[in-house]
Amino acid sequence: MTSTLNPRFTFDTFVVGAANRLAVTAGRTVAENPGSAYNPLFIYSSSGLGKTHVLMAIGHAAKAIATQLNIEYLTLDEYVEAFHAAIAAGQGDAFRRRFQNVDVLLVDDVQFLTNRKEMQTELLRLTEALQQAGHQIVLASDRPPAEIADLDERLISRFSGGLVVDMGIPDYETRVAILRRKAEERGQNFQPGVLETVAKVEYPNVRELMGALNRVIAFQAVNEAPINEEAVRRVLGIPSAAASSTAASSTAASPAAASRDEFSQFLTDVTVTVGKAVEAWRARVTEAVLRWEGEGYRTGRLELLLDQDTPASVDEAIASYVQDVERLKALEAEVAVLDPQAAGDKVFRDPDLVAAAESVAAKVREGAAPPPAPSAVFTLDSYVAGPSNEVALNGARDVIGKPGKKYNPLVIVGQSGLGKTHLLNAIGLELAKKKHAIVACLSTQQFVDELIAAIDGNRIDWWRARYRRATAFLLDDIQLLAGKERTQEELFNLFNQFLDADRQLVFTAPAHPNTLQGLEERIVSRLEGGLVVEIQEPDKELKRSALERLLKSQRVTTDAALIDYLVDRPVESVRNLGALVQRVVEAAAAQDGPVTAGLAREVLEGAPAPRRPTGARTSGIVVSSAGGVRSREKMVWDWPAAADRVIEDLR
């Protein structure tokens, strides 16, 4: 149904001159990047100037670059015929599908769309479908889209939306070059000046020029003697050169006439050589412009070159332009990872604004602070182990050993103050020691706050990218997600990405996820899908070692009676134990006495000793008057005023 590509019509056999250079360059670009450079490419010229040649050359070139491409060349008439045949056979849909699968569609003689409304609709549909699928369409016509009579406005705008290029009548030099190439192809040798004489006739198109050449070849074959210029004039009916020649035809071989010709022949040769030399750099610049424009970069700098005529540095200028573009590409790629939104900035498309692009990238880099890291205070070594948290600790060790592989997610549950946050941060710190690790470790409250700020600052992409880069994600107090629908949505997406990429997730919660209120089912099920470990109330063994460590850190001499007394005190958590020690130590400091079991009993069982406010750095807890824990790590270094403090075990 469709024509095959004529093997002779390639770019190599096409003589490029000023009149058709743009069309050829655009054609080459399209063949190299089908569907992305100019889509559609619309080539128009009068008949016989090489539209079909260029069209087929695009097909050949595209095929040479990517052999798997499906390339179809056909004239509009063939298309119409095929369409009618398909409709008659009831195969209209199959017909459409067939053309929608073509990677490069080359349609010739589009001007015949005139007065064919149904074909226009069909072609419009096809063009739209091909463009959407990123397939290339190249059209050729003998007039520009707007001049095709009765052409649908939508088609005009669609055709003009790509690139519309025309091809003119070749100039004298190009005509000489065409004739020489054709004569060479035919293995014909001519006397000097013969082809030039043919070329001097301004035929309206190349086909007629070829016709003239054919006549000359035929004449030479018949006469078995090389044809001379005078004979060429007779054959082609060109007015005799006698008017310009001083000699009559009888003395055609006079020195004067011959000399003129020798010089004009020389002039022609030099003209062709100069033309090639001078235009070579223009061609290089134009090619660069077309190429980078096609890739979406601004080419103002290169276009200026064409006006300025400064070819001494053309190659350098192009090279520096390309270098700038490469830099922009690198910056854009880098920024895209950190902040997809910022990567859309138009400075990344203008090589004249490399400096601006650098500063945008720098800003993004600066803004792309790594996600909140685990607190360095909570090391794994300082985590007091005991039977009550053994399971959790083993789970943590497994996670540290094989992040993302063994238990994902790991959910640590337990009452407040049992060391969940400590364990979470400890896991984070250990994971962060691994190569290229980016560990995000933060409280749910901070996560929610950040999201709100990102929405507020229209930086949601940036915010997401920040977490997506992380290799592990640790979230404290997941119960605070309750009722935060958007955060749950974001977490859900993050969750899935981390699970898919085998990156570790760790959460803490006060109770089993399926007992938490206000969490979406999809999140709960994913949390339950990993390992849920529970930390129990501290056992005596754990309390003892925790106490020893606490007292040591307070530089209190360890007293067996004191420790025995404190271990026996009913406390729900290690944190509360810390609070007890704190009170006893402070009371001792107030009295300037030693810390003893007696003092402890007096302090803890008698009335609370009055305490002076102190700015000294101590460890301990702060419980706000509202009863909720505000700080992310539930630790502060400054004691609030006594009135703000409520001791939990007295409540």
């Binding site: 020389f266 002039l267 040769d269 030099v270 100069v274 001494a312 053309v314 190659d315």
Partner: protein, 200 residues
Amino acid sequence: MSLVNFTAREITCKIVYYGPGRSGKTTNLHYVYERVPETRRGRMVSLATQTDRTLFFDFLPIDLGQISGFSTRFQLYTVPGQVYYNATRRLVLQGADGVVFVGDSQARQLDENIESLQNLQSNLLEHGVDVRTMPLVMQYNKQDLPPELILTLPELDDALNFRSVPSFPADALHGKGVFETLKAISELVLKKLAAGSPTG
């Protein structure tokens, strides 16, 4: 000298005809001069002795008109061939864009040819120019002489053209090979221009 002036849109090529005395350099220029239409040629400057030996140098400017928007000029020079005018030769060679070496095909002139070729090389070197980078064509003149007096083309190529540059047999007196030689050197010179770096 600047070969191509893009701001003024001018191309100027300086081509020097070099060779031993009496090899036919001036004859080449005369032939070209006669073939160039009056409107396109400047005055040919020629300083010759009574016996028609070039004393100083010949100079023929040719205006090729507008080519691709460039006003194109060729300046053809010859050097005096005799050994004792070396200073003049060196001067003429300065800023040359291309050299035509006009050799004498006569067998007995072979040594003069070789000597002149060596002289060309050393004079170019004086200007800091490597002969290998200079566009150069060879013309073996006087091929119209009886065969027993002259060397054949392969013999001359063997003896002189060890750089394998384009070479042409010529009979400058009758014009054979003159324009072929000029065309060849023009192409070489202009191709160097195409390479993108006008010689400074």
